[in-house]
Amino acid sequence: MSNAENKTQVAIIGAGPGGYPAAFLAADLGLEVTMIDPEDNPGGVCLYRGCIPSKALLHSAKVISEAEHLKNLGITFNKPKIDLDKLRDWKNGVVEKLVRGLGQLSRQRKVTYLQGRATFLNSTTLEIKRTDGSMEELEFEYAVIATGSRPAHIPSFPNDSPHLLNSTSALDLPEIPKTMLVVGGGYIGLELGTVYAALGTKVSVVEMTSGLMQGADRDLVRVLQKSSEPIYEAIMLNTKVVHMEETKNGIKVKFEAEGSEDTEMIFDRVLVSVGRKPNSENLGLENTGVEVDSKGFIKTDNQRRTSDRNIFAIGDVAGEPMLAHKATHEGRIVAEVLAGRNVAFEPNAIPAVVFTDPEIAWCGITETEAKEKKLNIKVARFPWSASGRATTLDRNDGVTKLIIDPETDRVLGMGIVGPGAGELIAEGVLAIEMGALVSDLELTIHAHPTLSETVMESAEVYYGLSTHMYKPKRDR
């Protein structure tokens, strides 16, 4: 049964986008690593039930909508025929290919991979329940908690109903429902809403605040909202779901909106996407010195060390923003710390990307945040209507903007809406990390004709000297 003779230098709990990069780098730096995860390969939510499968599906959604879009150019296709089983198999194949690759990388690095769940017995020992049911103890010098997060649910909703989906079950593509309600206008709801809408579902979105995508600047969201309106059945803002009831035909939902009467509608499926919760429970943290805040996030310092000296925490479980790439960076930092390097998690910018159509991406500070904090900033905005490349794509709906410190001309933030925004944002992240000035972006030659030119041109706008946008110089 118990086998306390098992020892490892570094135990990594959770093999998601935080855990496996931490394990790999720690192994590369000469440490002996054991990684514990319930799945048969590394990957975590990101690969199994998050980023990767959703992007695989969004890719097909994008091609469908682009094909449809070609009618503006005089090209029409027949309505696409969707073989849902094949699409699901392909998506699962994408996941399988990637996680198997990670399994191989893990073995090549001699990382011990234990399939199971770990709980802390104390500050130096884990109890591992293997997937085969066997139990064992593992003594560690250092542990890294990388257990991620899970979809939040609302207790009063009929959570057992097969008609009620969360991000995980929605990605399983059980069917293409005729109608779907997305509760919560955040990025998960909008991305999955986009997928189902492209597959032919009549999707409605309900959001209790006044706008979609809280956290992103309104000028960017407005563009998304305008483009999204045609693909959705309805976007209900300032509207609350006050009741939900399982019926024969689906779920009956009662809405309440200010200034209008309550309405009731029935949906085949309801997708609840109201945020995610950190997986900090059932880990035996009470047997350690690890502290958790009121939201369930594990408290860490800037090296991601918890209040228990030998235990670190990274990724979603260690706090916002709950993004895979943040977790990865934290994981690599912790690996270096464990290898004795004096490094810290201290990024100047973390990009956020919403893979809707158009995409929204931002990094550094947002205009909204700067205004809330009453920071002295200037904003330079370049509309894609003035971009040659955007015109060739028949997508003039984008905007690229820079948030600038007028005292130093430093780039503090960047926001982009438009197709490919997720790729374009990388330049903004680098600019902020390097302490670049607007003139650095202005004086860097960008390839023509590409959407990346909009970054350069927004820098030109700041100086009132944009090539493709004439705006008489104001007195400075």
């Binding site: 939040a152 209790m208 009121s294 464990l338 201290e346 990390e433 390097m434």
Partner: protein, 456 residues
């Protein structure tokens, strides 16, 4: 430990809710996840579970209240002791941190007239932990307070990392690049004395900047030949920083010789009895005793200068540091209350402390609190040298190798054992005449040991 439990984030966009039921009252015992209250939010009614088991100390809300995310709900006593983690952090310090701490502490002490009142918890178990840690890889523990939101620094990630590795708080470095961007050179040129604890730094004039030879050249060779670049050890860096800082005091060094022919005879005579006590009777331990007496007679040599307040701090204790050459560099263990100990005891203590310093077992306490320093290089050789002050101390005595020399006494040359002594002092506080009086006092005490009971 009491838990101030606030309304947690209930999921996207739910910010407020109305309390429709409170299920606990003061004095109730709750288990983890037990429902504390029910609130009605815009989307649904939600039960708020207890974050941990414990006793309800206070209920801060009542039915009908509209509450916001983050608002205090209840105070729960979970019956557990305060965080384990922070205690662990205190004791589990690595050797290098101990050394750094000494440096920081001493800076603080300089400003603090009563160093005895300094918190001393750090000594606990330090020795033990040092032994454990010295073998394994050390994990730098630069833990900062949680949730400290710094503004983005205008420097590349590589530059920021370099600053961290050099122990420089990059937020304090002024960038010379466009828009205040901080370059690698800015980091290198940042006054080394300002590292680690800038706030408690006395207002000393800016230390001179040491130009590195070719800072940008990371290559393994230059036009004159091959170069090995090795990172400085922490002890080396610290020594460099501290000496650079000390250098800002205007130094003068006096040289003189003591005739130790007679005292050397005594040293040999009594060596055995000291050896029995477990020490080694050396010229250094004898000089320790002499210095303690000399410091009493010349209080300005047992002092520090506080330029900021224009004050002199006269120390009423006599703690003398002795520089020890170790594998890792120069360490200065401090012998406390030298005036209260006899030479045998001093010899024993000096042997022990030197051994500890060499074996990495020295503790924070044993490296701090000095008021004067002795550096004896005589074992290796040399005639005279100019020791640099061990700031905030204002004087240091350098000892070189003794040699038999012909000395003209009473009309003829006699072979005498002569010991070269070098006294460096801070001219801000001490003038040359006083310094040579002090040094002569030491010499006379060595030549005529009766001077100590007579005058000391």
């Amino acid at each position: 430990m009491t838990i101030e439990y606030k309304l947690p984030d209930l999921g996207e966009d739910i910010e407020t809710g109305d309390v429709i039921g409170v299920f606990v009252s003061v004095g109730d015992t709750v288990v983890e996840d037990q429902a504390l209250l029910e609130i009605e939010t815009d989307k649904a009614a939600i039960e708020i579970p207890a974050p941990a088991a414990g006793t309800i100390k206070e209920v801060h809300i009542k039915e009908g209240d509209t509450i916001k995310v983050g608002q205090l709900l209840v105070t729960i006593d979970d019956g557990k002791a305060k965080t384990k983690g922070s205690q662990v952090k205190e004791v589990a310090k690595t050797q290098d941190e101990v050394i750094e701490e000494v440096a920081e502490k001493e800076v603080e002490e300089e400003m603090d007239a009563d160093p005895e009142s300094e918190p001393q918890e750090v000594e606990l178990n330090t020795t033990q932990d040092l032994t454990e840690n010295s073998e394994e890889k050390e994990i730098p523990d630069t833990a900062e307070p949680l949730a400290k939101n710094k503004n983005a620094v205008p420097a590349s990630p590589t530059t920021r990392r370099m600053a961290r590795e050099l122990g420089i708080d990059i937020n304090l470095v002024e960038g010379t690049g466009p828009g205040g961007r901080i370059s690698e050179d800015d980091i290198r040129n940042y006054a080394p004395g300002k590292r680690s604890k800038p706030k408690s730094e006395p207002q000393a004039p800016e230390p001179p900047v040491i130009e590195p030879q070719d800072p940008k050249d990371k290559a393994s060779s230059d036009k004159w030949g091959n170069i090995d670049r090795t990172p400085m050890s922490k002890v080396r860096k610290l020594t460099a920083e501290r000496l650079t800082k000390a250098w800002t005091a205007p130094h003068v060094t006096q040289y003189d010789k003591a005739d130790i022919t007679e005292v050397e005879k005594l040293r040999k005579e009594f060596g055995d009895s000291v050896a029995k006590a477990g020490g080694k009777l050396t010229m250094t331990s004898i000089i320790l005793k002499v210095i303690a007496s000399a410091l009493k007679a010349f209080p300005e040599f047992n002092a520090s200068v506080d330029m900021e307040n224009g004050e002199i701090l006269y120390k009423k204790y006599y703690n003398i540091g002795v520089a020890v050459d170790t594998d890792r560099g120069l360490l200065v263990p401090v012998i406390k209350d030298v005036n209260k100990k006899n030479i045998t005891k001093l010899s024993v203590e000096l042997s022990e402390l030197s051994e500890k310093a060499r074996n990495k077992k020295i503790t924070v306490d044993e490296l701090q609190g000095g008021t004067f320093t002795i550096s004896n290089l005589g074992g290796i050789g040399g005639t005279y040298f100019s020791p640099v002050l061990n700031a905030p101390e204002v004087a240091i005595l350098g000892i070189s190798r003794s040699a038999i020399e012909p000395v003209y006494i009473d009309g003829g040359f006699l072979p005498r054992l002569m010991l070269p002594l070098s006294l460096s002092y801070d001219h801000r506080l001490i003038d040359g005449a006083d310094a040579i009086r002090f040094l002569r006092w030491i010499i006379e005490a060595l030549e005529e040991p009766f001077k100590i009971p007579l005058e000391g």
